[in-house]
Amino acid sequence: MIIDVFYPVLLFLLLLAGIWTVMTLNLLKSAIGLALTSAILALLLFRMDAPLAGVFELSVCAGLITVVFISAISLTKPLEGAEAQARDRSRIKRFIYLPIIVAIVGGILYALHPHLDLFLPPDSLETDVRQVLWNVRRLDLVGQILIILAGVFGVVILFKDRADTKGGTKS
């Protein structure tokens, strides 16, 4: 069990990272914030006895997806000067409400304190993740192959004109 002080703290950090990701004015910082969120999530996963999922989260989400975002940001040219300032101002106006809303929702949830009845099923006999992944959920593996194929086709179609700059990011 992971019932110690780290559990709520990590969750709180996750939320903070998320809010920062959304609120920050700089798009690049936002992408990095996302990576940070992923990393915290990976930590949580590690602590929930899900090391394989944690590794995946850390390497793929915090790593690969951030790369994708940063490449996308660098491929598009940012606004400059007065336009950028105007945008930032309107962004602040729009996003200043986010922490307030989060606080209100949190308050409401805390006040209501909804008691969800849990009818838990019996524990699983199978605990080895590789066993499950390879033996039980083989159809999902086929699905993964298919979706990776789809991703390859998609990247080829969508980035065809810029195959040299972007083609390599997709595994």
Partner: protein, 482 residues
């Protein structure tokens, strides 16, 4: 054996992408067509193929026993037919890249993705486990995003982006529901979840999961008010892809999945029943009204699609055998006649270079086959006897009447009138009347589009006449599912 419906296309796809590009470029279309036609033939002539248990080595290889019933068979047939039509339209409307030998040949990739989407849909139909369902939903969806954007027009990107965002939100909802259901059942197979739900039907977790699942599927199916992406995606997609999307993709990922989940997992409570009826009726009416005001050919068809999905959900909402059978039947019919209409839209768009109905007129004179088949399709959509659409609408309306939802039944009839109205207006603006200026040298589309158009029209007529056979063979067995 049905797992072959996924494995064989996968192997075919892998083989197609082996290095012999020139050969494969030419082969791809035929491979796709053969896959579709084989699937259709198997459903019609050898349904036992799907119903029998997997052979030993396949079973050992995949450890997966899909549950196939008559509902799935109908879907396999619809997927195969629409898939074949879409592939043929691909051949017609999507041009090869300037450098035909290279790997980045657009048509080749599009055909690959269409096969992928079809495989994904087969998987959706086959799945007997919520997470596998999600995986295949995503495969279909991702293939669709790419396909919509494949021609890289401005509108195409816009439509694809809207579809992507809405669909991703839907996916998140479905996943959250899956997580909550896993919390209750500890497992994700339909059977176990059903048992778990039956054990605790009123637990808040289950209800929240049901609500999110249903909403996610509403978004995927494009029901009012979750439909915002649908007209944009349909009208922006390349012609062939609209055929696929409107004909089968949203119907499989949205409506079929909804029906499957309702009858195999969550069952119909009174609240859910009323919700489905209300959403169905709203989609039906709003879709029809919106279609009435369109001047873009494909956009009108898209709204019409929303309206027809409304009928299906309405049929499901009755909760009776007749209603659900009518709903499935309408899904199948809709797959046929809506793809036919989009095939015709492709022909018209390609030949005239516009989709604006106000600029067309009298095209039937120059494109008689297109005009004629589109008349058949729209009569079927509007529910004119003895075409296919009439029967399915009739069954749905009878089911509504039997369950005492007389208001909904009359709304369904009203929407049918609206359908007739907007299609008549379409037919008049596009095909009848005086030939619009500038189209004097218009030619009929070529065989790649006329063959699917005629075939689909024949199917519509054939179903209308052969309704007793269809009803006995495919629809009444659905009774055993409930």
């Amino acid at each position: 054996m049905p797992v072959l419906l996924i494995i064989v296309p996968l192997l075919a796809l892998l083989a197609l992408n082996l290095p012999w590009m020139r050969l494969m470029n030419r082969l791809a279309l035929w491979v796709g067509l053969i896959l579709c036609l084989t699937q259709a033939c198997l459903v019609i002539y050898a349904p036992a193929f799907f119903l029998e248990a997997p052979s030993l080595w396949l079973g050992r290889l995949f450890l997966f026993e899909p549950s196939v019933d008559y509902l799935s068979l109908v879907m396999f047939l619809a997927i195969a037919i629409v898939g074949a039509a879409a592939l043929m339209v691909c051949r017609y409307s999507i041009h090869t890249a300037a450098e035909p030998g290279t790997c980045a040949n657009n048509r080749f990739l599009v055909i690959n993705l269409v096969i992928l989407a079809l495989t994904g849909m087969n998987g959706v139909v086959l799945a007997n486990d919520l997470f596998s369902l999600y995986v295949f939903l995503e495969i279909t969806a991702v293939a669709s995003y790419i396909l919509i954007a494949a021609e890289k027009g401005r509108d195409a990107f816009e439509g694809a982006f809207k579809y992507l965002i809405m669909s991703a939100v839907a996916t998140a909802l479905i996943l959250a529901a899956i997580a909550l259901l896993m919390l209750t059942a500890g497992d994700l197979s339909y059977v176990n979840i059903k048992l778990a739900i039956m054990a605790s039907p009123h637990s808040g977790v289950v209800l929240a999961a049901v609500a999110m699942l249903v909403v996610g599927l509403f978004i995927k199916g494009g029901l009012i008010p979750f439909h915002g992406w649908l007209p944009d995606a349909y009208s922006a997609a390349p012609a062939a892809i609209s055929v696929l999307l409107a004909g089968i993709v949203t119907k499989t990922t949205g409506v079929y999945t909804l029906i499957r989940i309702v009858i195999s997992i969550i069952g119909l409570s009174d609240t859910l029943e009323n919700l489905l009826l209300f959403i169905g009726a709203a989609s039906m009416l709003v879709g029809a009204l919106a279609a009435l005001g369109q001047s873009d050919f494909k956009r009108m068809l898209a709204y019409s699609s929303i309206s027809q999905v409304g009928y299906m959900v309405l049929g499901l909402g009755t909760g009776t055998v007749l209603g659900i059978a009518g709903s499935i039947f309408h899904l199948f019919n809709h797959a046929i006649f809506k793809s036919l209409l989009f095939v015709n839209a492709a022909a018209v768009e390609q030949q005239t270079g516009t989709r604006d109905m106000n600029r067309m007129g009298g095209l039937a004179e120059k494109m008689p086959v297109t005009g004629c088949t589109s008349a058949i399709a729209f009569l079927s959509t509007a529910g004119i006897p003895p075409l296919a659409g009439f029967w399915s609408k009739l069954i749905i309306i009878i089911a509504l009447w039997q369950t005492g939802h007389i208001v909904y039944a009359s709304l369904a009839v009203l929407a049918s009138l609206l359908t007739l109205a907007y299609f008549l207006s379409m037919q008049r603006r596009v095909f009848f009347g005086k030939l619009a200026t500038g189209f004097e040298s218009l030619k009929e589309a070529n065989a790649w589009i006329l063959i699917p158009a005629c075939a689909l029209a024949l199917i519509t007529i054939g179903i209308g006449i052969g309704i007793p056979w269809l009803f006995e063979t495919f629809l009444l067995p659905i009774r055993s599912l409930l």
